[in-house]
Amino acid sequence: MNKKLIRWDFWTGVTLLAIVVFGLFLIYPLFSLFITAFQDPETGAFTMGHFAHFFERKYYYQSMINSFSVTTCVTVLAIVIGTILAYFMSMYKVRGRNMVEICIIISLLSPPFIGAYSWILIGGRSGILTQWLQNTFGLEFPSIYGFSGILLVLTLKLYPFIYLYVSGALKNIDSALIEAAESLGCSGIRKVFTVIVPLITPTILAGALMVFMNAMADFGTPMLIGEGFNVMPVMIYSEFINEVGDQANFAAAMAAIMVFITSVIFLLQKYIVNRKSFTMSSLRPIQKGELHGIRNILMHAGIYMLVSLSLIPQLVVIYTSFLKTRGAIFVDGYSLDSYRTIFSSLGSAIQNTYMFSTGAMVMIIFLGMTVAYLTTRRKSWLTEVIDTLTMFPYIIPGSVLGITLLLAFNDEPLLLSGTAFIIIISLVIRRLPYTLRSSSAILYQISPSLEEASISLGASPLKTFFKITAVMMLPGVMSGAILSWITAINELSSSVILFTGATKTMSVAIYTEVIRASYGTAAALSTILTITTITAMVIFFKVSGRKDVTL
């Protein structure tokens, strides 16, 4: 009987833990955010004033229009670029395709604001390219700031999502479908638009949602390169940081509006995809053809140009990190000064980054495996609730999550703001849904009779979970966890709100260094971050034995 009690306790414990983590750190803060949004700061009475305030002043509601327009443009552009790239990479032989793929993944996993920052270094007011054009030809380089800059940086950063999704879908198209179309007299561009595009539309929509959510929530890019072009995350951040009067309530109201928008988009996408969804499995994938002559040259030129364009920011950052600086100005010659500076003054940021991300990763692995087990193998109404709760982080932008956590845990008895714990928790909450989804997928592949076999041989269900189920899940979960770790070290939007001096991370440090115009140190930090990212990716490919990434 004693054994039975312990077994009961463990799974109940995990259930409770999951509910506590999501309830306390997601639902409760979100709830208090909504309450704050409707509260008068002085009296605490119910008011719609903050929302009215938002929609009355162009300065505010313009940010919503801006966010919407730039996000929509990014999504459309990313779909076009990503789909075309995936089409050519899947249909035709491309030289150096492995290298191309790795470059695409690197540009996806690098921190978004590094893109913004290095495009400023290249084409900003005193950028390398701007100055060169100015000095040699006397030409005026078009402004990189504002709408076009955000569009450029985010598109280059996010088209890989579409690329990865669509390549996966194209791999699943059976060549018989294409042959059937051809046998019915449909070929060329008509074949592409009547057969291939409809087949990958659900996938494009899934990728589009990822792009939209990421672009909408991105804080670093518009903050650095947006200048006068205000978008919602920046607006929320600056209103929130301004600790005058009722700004916290107003920021909360804006955050609520943003969550509302993302929820609507999320539900809309789900509705459309559900109506169109079907499953494909390919017995005979499409064979890659070869292009000849000018078409082949054009295709290769296009692909290489796109990839270099997405990699330029990384290279520029690495290059500038070795330049000699005096204060904010780069001077002639090379040096390691920037690295010396960061190791002496910002060493803790590097340490924090690794510690927080690793801590988050451990929690994600544990919770991911156990909660996925609960929701797939031990179904009950309670696990259904957990399953639903874990959908929420999809629709909550990072900066909004940061604000909700800060608002909720700023007072006794739950004074957590400023601690490392709250940053780790925010990382866990944001990444756990992805790990859970992939863990459940892995679990569905493991036959329950394996667990029953273990039990029939005398292992208790709990022992069976650790000796059989967990061991078999681990490789899949680990590779997912490495991706989570990479996203965690590059995370900015929630940590920039949650950090204090002692809990500064690298991405936050880069951001503050850039704001202080200390470009050399920012570049050195970014280089370390990029190298870490690439190293982790190499490990990921080794661990998973895969050549592609799904986020």
Partner: protein, 374 residues
């Protein structure tokens, strides 16, 4: 170590749906007991109730005298072989077999001896250090068997263990399983929907339908003296005729609807004159006779099957129980004097000593000495 299994009014329900309405069975110590039935009859459900993977909603299941209803699966000391084998893919063959012994904290040297022995018995010693994915289906099956037996379970449970193998291997593994089981002498419950498999491997068979046991008996009895029409048609083929009982001198006879009288000396005492019955004749229980000494019919079609010719027959409609898939006669080609042609009219005489007689509703056999539980 091995035990007998006593199932007493066992009930299985999923919500309002009753799968097994109250089942009694006694499985003897050391016997090879097979649960046979069409898919969805509850045989796997019952097996998983014995294993502990399904809850028991009523009645009891006991190993010897010990009721196991509330003992969790991992404490029941069962060995189970799964349809999918369920070999742990991350462990080698040897580690798979050791798994249960390690949990029992067996000393190293004793464990080594036991594993060596069992690997030898199932003949997979040479593959012991391989990972399972590099084994064939038959080899995986042997690993699963070794892993289940090595822990010396009280009962061995097998859930359609051969259904994923090809026909030839199935026959081979069938005798291997049978041999190993006899060697270890362990109570075995075996689930299958394959009647040939059941007949060839079992000490006793329980035929199940809709959660109810239709008959429990030795393979021979199940085939020759089925308890009801379901068993007689599910196991092998049976041709069902309407007939009436009539007194025939000192004894009794059954009269077919075309007037042919077949004297019977093994009808039970409850059979009375004028009783409507069903006579069940197997395809091999007919013999060709001159006109008037049997049932007249027309050959509709024939199929050559090597050892046999199977003829498909046409009778007057009122002679037959309706809705039978076919009426068949198997001619043993080893002794056939004359082959029949399609459309030929022929007289076939049922062998009175072999045929079975059932009540008109098909629920009971009316011959002497046929029982539900043997």
């Amino acid at each position: 170590m091995s035990v007998e299994i006593n199932i007493n009014k066992a009930v299985k329900k999923y919500g309002d749906l009753t799968i097994i309405p109250g089942l009694d069975e006694h499985i003897k110590n050391g016997e090879f007991f097979t649960l046979l039935g069409p898919s969805g009859c509850g045989k796997t459900t019952l097996l998983r109730m014995i294993a502990g993977f399904n809850s028991i909603e009523g009645g009891t299941i006991a190993f010897n005298d010990k009721v196991i209803n509330d003992i969790p699966a991992h404490e029941r000391n069962i060995g189970m072989v799964f349809q999918s084998y369920a070999i742990f893919p991350h462990l080698t063959v040897r580690e798979n077999v050791e798994y249960g012994l390690k949990l029992r904290k067996m000393p190293k040297d004793e464990m080594k001896r036991k594993v060596d022995d069992i690997l030898d018995v199932v003949q997979i010693t040479e593959y012991q250090d391989r990972l399972p994915e590099r084994l064939s289906g038959g080899q995986q099956q042997r690993v699963a068997l070794a892993r289940a037996i090595v822990i010396h379970p009280s009962v061995l449970l097998m859930d359609e263990p051969l259904s994923n193998l090809d026909a030839k291997l199935r026959v081979e593994m069938r005798s291997a399983i049978r041999e190993v089981q006899k060697q270890v002498g362990i109570t075995t419950v075996y689930v299958t929907h394959d009647q040939e498999e059941a007949l060839s491997i079992s000490d006793r068979i329980a035929v199940m339908k809709k959660g109810v046991i239709q008959q429990t008996a030795s393979p021979h009895t199940i085939y020759t003296r089925p308890y009801n029409v379901f068993v007689s048609t599910f196991i092998g083929h049976s041709n069902l005729f309407h007939a009436t009982v009539r007194a025939d001198g000192s004894g009794k006879a059954v009269v077919f609807n075309d007037g042919y009288v077949m004297p019977m000396d093994n009808l039970s005492d409850e059979v009375t004159e004028g009783m409507e019955v069903i006579v069940s004749v197997r395809p091999e229980e007919f013999s060709i006779q001159p006109k008037g000494q049997g049932l007249q019919c027309r050959i509709k079609n024939k199929v050559f099957l090597g050892k046999y010719n199977t003829y498909f027959l046409d009778f007057e409609e009122n002679m037959l129980v309706p809705n039978q898939p076919s009426i068949e006669f198997s001619q043993d080609l080893g002794h056939a004097e004359r082959l029949l042609d399609v459309n030929e009219t022929v007289t076939l005489k049922p062998n009175a000593a072999k045929v079975n007689v059932f009540t008109a509703d098909g629920e009971r056999n009316l011959l002497k000495g046929v029982v539900l539980h043997e």
